[in-house]
Symmetry: C2
C-alpha cells in the first residue's frame, strides 16, 4: 500500500488525503511521545472524522460556543487525539472571536501531561471544542441523544416562522464498546422512539476489542438491533472510501423521521505494518518501527514528528472555516432580526443565551405553614418544582417511569409531555431507563437547558456514571430521588436505600440535599437553581414529615449553609442532636423531652454535608461547638461518614445492614429509629461528657 | 365475561382454570389486605406461570434445592405474589425432604409484613423457592443468563456419557420495565452470543407502565431486537390461550441453538372491571369494588378471601409434584451410578454439591519475596488468582473487555475461553458490559459456582446494582477492580476512582479489600475464598508497590483482620500512620524517617474497614490505641469516612476533587501524596498531641 494507491482508491483529493494523514500522524506521534494513549482508532477513523468536520459540520471554528453549532461527540473518548487533531487543524479558537487556539501544536506535544489541554480523554469545560466529557463507554452516545432532544426542544420553543435559530444536528462517533454498553441501548431506544432525525451515530466497526476480535463477545447484528429501535441504518464498507462516507452523510442530512446509524468498517491502527487490525493497535505507543512503517504507508516523511504539511491548515480554513463563518454570520443576522421583531422573544433569546433565570422565577415558591402531620418531602418537592418550572421555560425533565411516585411531573398548563410530535414538551418520559436518563439529562444540560431526572433513591445506583460525569463537567443539572430510606416500608430491602446517600455525598462537587421538611425543600430548590457549575441531587421521603414552626425554630434558609441550628437552648448545649431529612423529627421530639427536663440540647439539621463543608470554620464551629463532644447523630442510612460530625466520642445511630419488608413503623422499631432510642443515646452521651 | 366463557375460550381445563384463578385471587387478597403491592401482573400472567410450573418445570416441590432443577426467575419482582402463590399451591417445601411449606397460607395473609416469608419483592435465601432476589428491574433476566451459562458449564464439567446430571433449563418472566433496562440488553446480547438454548424469557407485553401506556416511552420492536441478538422469538397473542402457551413452550424445549423469547400479550389486572388494562392496575390495592368485580369475572365467591378451592392443591400434586418426584428420583439414581462408576468423579460431584474447596486449593499461593520495587497488586492478583483457580474447578470468571489490564485471565492449561462451542471454558468474555457482568456473575453464583468479574475500579459504578444484590443475597462471588486511584495516571479523571472505594465500603455485608502489597493480595484471596455468604471486591493498583519484608514487619495474615500493625515502635506510639493499598508505602517511608529521628511511630495497614469493624474492641484498641490521638490517615480516594479511624483530632490526607490526566508522579505531587506531606502532617499531629 503506497500513499499514491491510497489516494487513487479512496476518492479523496490529494489535499484531503494530506489532511487525513496529518490527523493520523499527529495521533501517532502524540501517543508515541506520551508513551500512552490510543492511536489505533484515530488512524482508522481519520477519513470519516475529517469528512464530517470539513464537509458537513455546521460549526464556526472562530466561535466554538455558537449555540446553534452542530455538536460532534467523540463517544469513544480514548481516541481523544482524533478530536484534538481536528480541533488543532481546524484552528478552533479557545474563546469566541479570540485568537488563541483551543489546542496548539505544543498542546499536542504535551498530550496527557499535567495541565495541558490534551488530557487522556476529552474533558468538557477544560478544552474548548470538546462538547462532552467521554471515556466511560456509552456515555457520549447517550449524551448525544439529550443534545438532539435539546435541539428539537429549542427549535420548538425559540424559533419563529422564518427564523430557524435552533436546528443543529448532533454527530456521535462511537466504538463497539459504546454499543455494547446498556446505557447506549437505552438511549438508542429513546432516540428511535422520539424519531430524532437530527442525530447521527457513526459506528467504528473495526471488529477489534482489547481482549481480541469482537467475535469473542459481540456477535449480535447491530444493524438489525438499531432497525428495531426505529433507526435508519447505513453502511460504509471502507472507512477510506470518500464517496461512500459522503453518500451516507448526505442520506442522514436528507432524513427527517429517524435517527441514523452509519456503520463504518474501519481498520484499527490503519497503516501500522504489523499491528493494524489487531488488538495491539488499540492502545499504547506503537513503537518506533511501527510508527515508521505507518508513515511510510501514508507516504509521510518517516523522521518528522508532529508534522503539519503546507496546505493542511488551509484545507480546513477553506472547508469548515469558510462554511462556519458564513453560517455564523447568517445566524447572527437572524438572531438580530428576531430580537428586533419581538421584545418578548428577544428577552427569551437573551435569557437562554446567558443561562439566566427569568425575573420572578422564585416568586411562587410556597411558604409551607406549620403542620404537625406535614407532608412527604416528595410532595412538597412536587409543589416547589412546579412553582419554579412554570416561570423557567428552559427547564425540562422527567422520571424513569416513576413520575406519579416521584411527584416529578410538571402539571401546569402548557407543560405537556415531550413526544415525537411535541418535542417542546416539558415532561420527558424516560421509561424504565435510569442510566440513559442520567446521560440524557447531561446532554440536555450541555446545550444549556435546566434538566432533571427522577427515580427512587435506591436506583441512583443505576445511574452513577452520568451523575459523576455531570459533576466532572460542572453541569448544573439535578435529580429528584424519592423513597430515600427504609421509610419505603413494604417494598423491602431491594427498594430501600442504605448506602446510597453516602455514596452520593462522596462524589466530588455534587451537591447532595436531604431536606427535613417542606420549607427545607423550598430552600433546597433555591440552592439548586442558584448553582452555575455543580449538579445536585435531592433525597426525599415517601412518608409525611412535620412542617416545623419557623417562628420559634431556626429559619429554613439555613439549608443553604448545609447545616444549621434548628432548635436550641440557652447557653452552651449539653448535647448536640444531629440528623438529616426524616430523622430530624426524632431529634426535635427528643429535644422537646430534654427541654422539659431542663436539659440543654440543640438540634442541628444537616441537609447537606458538602454545603456545610464549604462554610468557614467560624460558622461550622458556631453550629457544632468543638467543646460540646456529647453528640448523637441519627440517619436511616449507613452510619459511615457520620463520625466526622458526631466526633470520636459521639454516638451514631444508623443502618448496619439492609432493610426489610414491613410497614414503616415496624421497621423503625426493628432498626432502632425512635425518639426513645435517641433519648437514651443522648443521655448516655451527656453522662459520658460529665465524667 | 363469565367464568364459563373464559374456560371455553382458553383451552384450559376446568381444574386448570380453578388453579389459575386461585393464583389470581390469592394475589388480589394479599395485596388488598397488605394495602400495598402489585396484583395486576399476577392477574394477567397467572395462566402462563401456571402452565410453566405445572406442565413444564422440572422441579420437585419436595426437594427445592435439587441442583438440577429448572430455574424459574420472576424478574418483575414486584409481581411477587405470583411466585408466592405458585410456591404455596405447589406445596414447595421449606427444606429438602421436609414437611414445612416454604410459604403457608398464613404467610400469604402476612404478605409484606415483618418477618413473613412473603416480602414485597422475592428474596433469595429468605424464602425457599425464590431463585434470586428481584425487584430492581433487569436484574432477574440478567441473572438468568448466568444461570443458563452455569447449567452449560456444569453440563460440560460434571456430566459423563449417559449420565446427564446437569442439564437444567432457566425460565425468566419479565416485564417491559425489565426489557427497557440496559442491563437486560447487555445480558440478552451475551445470551444470544453464547447460543443459550436452555434459556427462555417470557415477556409480559401488557403495554402498561406506571406512567401510562408503554407507547409513552417504549415503541421499539422488541421481537426484532431479540432476533438481532440471535434469539428465537415466539408470540402468544393471548395470555389466556392454553394451546398457544403450550406451543411456545414446546418450541422452546425443542430448540437447541438459540435462547428463546416468548412475547405474551397479557392484560394487566385481568378481570378487574374498571382498572384492568390501565396503569391503575399496576400497583396498590384494587379496592373492595374492583376486587369483587374481578372475582365475579372469574366466577369466584365474592366474599371469600384467601380461598383455595378443593382440588387445587391436587392439581399441582398431580402435575409438578408427580413429575418432579420422578425426575428427582431418576437424578438420584444417576448420581449414585456416577459416584459408583468413578471415585474421582464422585469427589468432584460431592465437592460441588457441598460448595467445598478441594484439598490443597491454596497450596500454590505464592509467598512473594521482599522487593523494594515490587509489583502492581493487579499483577500479584493475577498470579494468586491463577494459583488458586487451577485447583478449584467450579470457578470461572472474566473481565468486561479489560482482561489484559486487569490480569484476570486464567492462563493455566485447560482453562480456555468460554464460548458457544466451549461452554466449560473458565474465562468468560463479558464484552464491554460491566452491568451484565455483575448480574451474570450473580447468576453463576446462584447455581453454586465460584464466579468473578473484573474491570477498572472506576467502572464499578456501572455495576453497583448487582454488587448490592450479591450482598443482599449473601452470594460469595467477587470482583477484581484494578486501576484503583489517581495512580491510573494519564487516562485522567474519567478513569480515576475517587469516591468508588468508599461507596463500596458502604454496601452492607460486602467485603472490600485494598491490599498494600503482594503478600496482602495473597491473604486477601484467602479471605475471599473462605467466605460462604458474602461477596467481596478487591481494589488493586495499576502501579508497582513494594513487597514488604515480613521478617521485620507485621505478618500479612493480619489482612484477615482488616487492619493490623505493619511497622511499629517500642512502647506507646507518638503517632499512628494509617493507610490502605498503595499509600501504605508512604507511611512506611515516613515511619523510617521518624524512626531515624527517634520518633515513635506506628504504621497500620488497613486493607479492609469492614473486616476490621468485625474484630472485637480489644483487638481494635490494640491496633489503634485510643489514647494515641495523634494520627494521620492517607488514601488516594475521598477523605470521607476516614475520620472514624483518624479521630476528631487526626489529619486525613485524601482527595477533595477529581483527579487529572498526567503521569502518576505529577499527580501525586499535585494532589499532595508524598512521604514529605505525610511527615509534615505527622509532625503537626505529634506537636498538637504534646500541647
Amino acid at each position: 500500500m503506497s500513499g499514491a494507491d491510497t489516494v487513487a482508491k479512496s476518492g479523496f483529493s490529494e489535499s484531503d488525503q494530506l489532511a487525513i494523514n496529518t490527523i493520523r500522524t499527529l495521533a501517532i506521534d502524540a501517543v508515541q511521545k506520551a508513551n500512552s494513549g490510543h492511536a489505533g482508532a484515530p488512524m482508522g477513523l481519520a477519513p470519516v472524522a475529517y469528512t464530517v468536520w470539513n464537509r458537513y459540520l455546521r460549526y464556526d471554528p472562530a466561535n466554538p460556543h455558537w449555540p446553534n453549532r452542530d455538536r460532534f461527540v467523540l463517544s469513544c473518548g480514548h481516541a481523544s487525539m482524533l478530536l484534538y487533531g481536528l480541533l488543532h487543524l481546524a484552528r478552533v479558537a479557545e474563546k469566541d472571536g479570540g485568537n488563541a487556539p483551543a489546542i496548539s501544536l505544543e498542546d499536542i506535544k504535551q498530550f496527557r501531561q499535567l495541565d495541558s489541554r490534551t488530557p487522556g480523554h476529552p474533558e468538557y469545560h477544560f478544552t474548548t471544542g470538546v462538547e462532552t466529557t467521554t471515556g466511560p463507554l456509552g456515555q457520549g452516545v447517550a449524551n448525544s441523544v439529550g443534545m438532539a432532544m435539546g435541539s428539537r426542544f429549542l427549535n420548538t420553543r425559540l424559533n419563529k416562522p422564518g427564523l430557524p435559530l435552533y436546528e443543529f444536528d448532533v454527530y456521535a462517533m462511537c466504538s463497539d464498546g459504546d454499543l455494547m454498553e446498556g446505557v447506549a441501548s437505552e438511549a438508542a431506544s429513546i432516540a428511535g422512539h422520539l424519531r430524532l432525525s437530527n442525530l447521527c451515530w457513526i459506528y467504528d466497526d473495526n471488529t477489534v476489542t482489547i481482549e481480541g476480535h469482537t467475535e469473542l463477545a459481540f456477535s449480535e447484528e447491530v444493524a438489525t438491533r438499531f432497525l428495531a429501535y426505529g433507526w435508519q441504518v447505513l453502511r460504509v464498507a471502507d472507512a477510506n472510501d470518500a464517496h461512500a462516507i459522503a453518500a451516507a452523510l448526505d442520506t442522514f442530512k436528507a432524513s427527517h423521521d429517524h435517527p441514523t446509524l452509519i456503520i463504518v468498517k474501519s481498520i484499527i491502527g490503519y497503516g501500522a505494518p504489523t499491528k493494524q487490525n489487531t488488538s495491539k493497535a488499540h492502545s499504547d505507543a506503537l513503537g518506533e518501527e511501527e510508527v515508521k512503517g505507518a508513515k511510510r504507508a501514508y507516504g509521510w516523511p518517516e523522521d518528522k514528528q508532529f508534522y503539519v504539511p503546507d496546505g493542511v491548515y488551509d484545507s480546513f480554513a477553506d472547508g469548515i472555516g469558510k462554511r462556519g463563518a458564513a453560517l455564523f454570520a447568517e445566524w447572527q443576522r437572524l438572531h438580530d432580526e428576531a430580537k428586533k421583531a419581538d421584545p418578548t422573544h428577544a428577552e427569551e433569546l437573551e435569557a437562554f443565551l446567558e443561562g439566566r433565570l427569568p425575573e420572578g422565577w422564585d416568586k411562587d415558591i410556597p411558604v409551607f405553614p406549620t403542620d404537625a402531620k406535614g407532608l412527604a418531602t416528595r410532595e412538597s418537592s412536587g409543589k416547589v418544582l412546579n412553582a419554579i418550572a412554570q416561570h423557567v421555560p428552559f427547564m425540562l425533565g422527567g422520571s424513569a417511569d416513576l413520575a406519579p411516585s416521584n411527584k416529578s411531573n410538571l402539571t401546569f398548563e402548557g407543560a405537556g409531555s415531550l413526544t415525537p410530535l411535541n418535542p417542546g414538551g416539558r415532561n420527558v418520559h424516560f421509561g424504565v431507563r435510569e442510566h440513559a436518563m442520567g446521560s440524557i439529562v447531561n446532554g440536555l444540560g450541555l446545550v444549556g437547558l435546566r434538566a432533571y431526572g427522577a427515580t427512587f433513591l435506591v436506583f441512583a445506583d443505576y445511574m452513577r456514571p452520568p451523575i459523576r460525569l455531570a459533576s466532572l463537567m460542572e453541569l448544573p443539572v439535578f435529580h429528584i430521588f424519592t423513597h430515600d430510606s427504609i421509610g419505603v416500608g413494604e417494598d423491602g430491602p431491594t427498594h430501600q436505600p442504605v448506602e446510597q446517600i453516602l455514596s452520593l455525598r462522596a462524589i466530588p462537587g455534587l451537591v447532595t440535599l436531604r431536606p427535613a421538611d417542606a420549607n427545607e425543600v423550598a430552600e433546597a430548590y433555591r440552592v439548586i437553581f442558584s448553582l452555575k457549575n455543580q449538579p445536585a441531587v435531592l433525597a426525599l421521603s415517601r412518608q409525611p414529615l412535620p412542617t416545623y414552626d419557623r417562628s420559634t425554630f431556626g429559619a429554613a434558609s439555613g439549608t443553604a449553609k448545609g447545616a444549621y441550628v434548628l432548635a436550641d437552648c440557652e447557653g452552651t448545649p449539653d448535647v448536640l442532636l444531629l440528623a438529616s431529612g426524616s430523622e430530624v423529627q426524632l431529634c426535635v421530639s427528643a429535644w422537646e423531652t430534654l427541654k422539659a427536663e431542663g436539659v440543654k440540647a440543640r438540634v442541628v439539621s444537616m441537609p447537606s454535608w458538602d454545603l456545610f463543608e464549604r462554610q468557614d470554620q467560624t460558622y461550622r464551629d458556631s453550629v457544632l461547638p468543638p467543646q460540646v463532644t456529647a453528640r448523637v447523630a441519627i440517619e436511616m442510612g449507613t452510619v459511615l461518614g457520620w463520625d466526622r460530625y458526631a466526633g470520636s466520642a459521639g454516638t451514631v445511630i444508623g443502618m448496619h445492614s439492609f432493610g426489610a419488608s414491613a410497614p414503616i413503623k415496624d421497621l423503625q422499631k426493628k432498626f432502632g429509629f425512635s425518639a426513645e432510642k435517641l433519648l437514651e443515646a443522648a443521655r448516655d452521651q451527656i453522662a459520658r461528657g460529665k465524667k
